[in-house]
């Protein structure tokens, strides 16, 4: 990372929050995805963030280690008029809580904004350093 360590670290965090935003977006898009009870429900996507180990010489930051998936069971809802309903009139909805997803959306947005602010401040800081001694 060298001279611009803070910018690189904040950049890695921006990537992580962007992926979280993608995951939340996917979950919200599929909140009403109905499947028949013989299939597994749509599984909510969750991002697993992991710190870049500074001992490894990477110089800090964060990366997405992988994705975790929510319940495959979902919620069984009685909807006899649904074309996907089984003999008992049940369908499978994904187990996604919209309020929780909206909260995560705000968290992802705020995290992204915070790290974008870090990039701006770091740039300002480096520019200040360049002004030292300039008459």
């Amino acid at each position: 990372m060298g001279t611009f360590g803070a910018i690189g670290i904040a950049g890695s965090a921006l990537g992580t929050y962007r992926k979280w935003l993608d995951a939340v977006s996917d979950n919200l898009a599929n909140v009403n995805t109905v499947r028949s009870t013989s299939e597994t429900a749509f599984q909510a996507r969750y991002i697993v963030a992991q710190a870049n180990d500074s001992q490894g010489g990477d110089g800090g930051g964060v990366h997405v280690a992988g994705a975790a998936f929510g319940s495959a069971e979902g919620r069984i809802v009685y909807e006899p008029n649904n074309p996907l309903a089984d003999a008992d009139g049940n369908v499978r909805y994904p187990d996604i809580d919209m309020a929780s997803q909206m909260t995560q959306l705000i968290m992802a947005q705020r995290g992204y904004q915070a790290n974008a602010a870090v990039v701006d401040r770091a740039k300002e800081l480096y520019t200040t350093a360049l002004q030292i001694g300039r008459s």
Binding site: T3, F4, I7, A10, G11, L14, G15, R18, A116, V119, K123, Y126, T127, L130, G133, R134
Partner: protein
């Protein structure tokens, strides 16, 4: 009053100072090495600046062709190369300033 005649200087009796003869080339070499160190530092920083700007250019091409996965990748690369450009030009300007200062020196 008698004036003693000036005796001829026997050149063989004058020995060159060991300090000047031996130290002079070494001193020049040392100065040359220092100059080279600064020049190579500046050159390598210009090289890394060039690499940064090449990376920014690639990301700009990706942005206009729709292959950019992360918007912030491009803006961060652009910011970094702008600051690095400013840094390199500041270092270069300071060096020229120092050189000019030396050239203005008067005994």
């Amino acid at each position: 009053m008698s004036v003693a005649p000036i005796s001829a200087v026997v050149t063989s009796s004058v020995t060159p100072t060991a300090y000047v003869s031996s130290a002079s080339p070494a001193g020049t070499a040392a100065a040359g090495a220092t100059d080279g160190a600064f020049a190579s530092t500046l050159a390598s920083s210009v090289d890394s600046l060039q690499a940064m700007q090449a990376n920014t250019d690639q990301l700009a091409v990706k942005a206009v062709t729709g292959n950019l996965s992360d918007v912030h990748d491009y803006t961060i690369a652009a910011t970094e190369s702008a600051v690095a450009m400013e840094l390199t030009s500041t270092v270069r300007n300071r060096a020229v300033e120092a050189f000019n200062e030396i050239m203005r020196m008067q005994a």
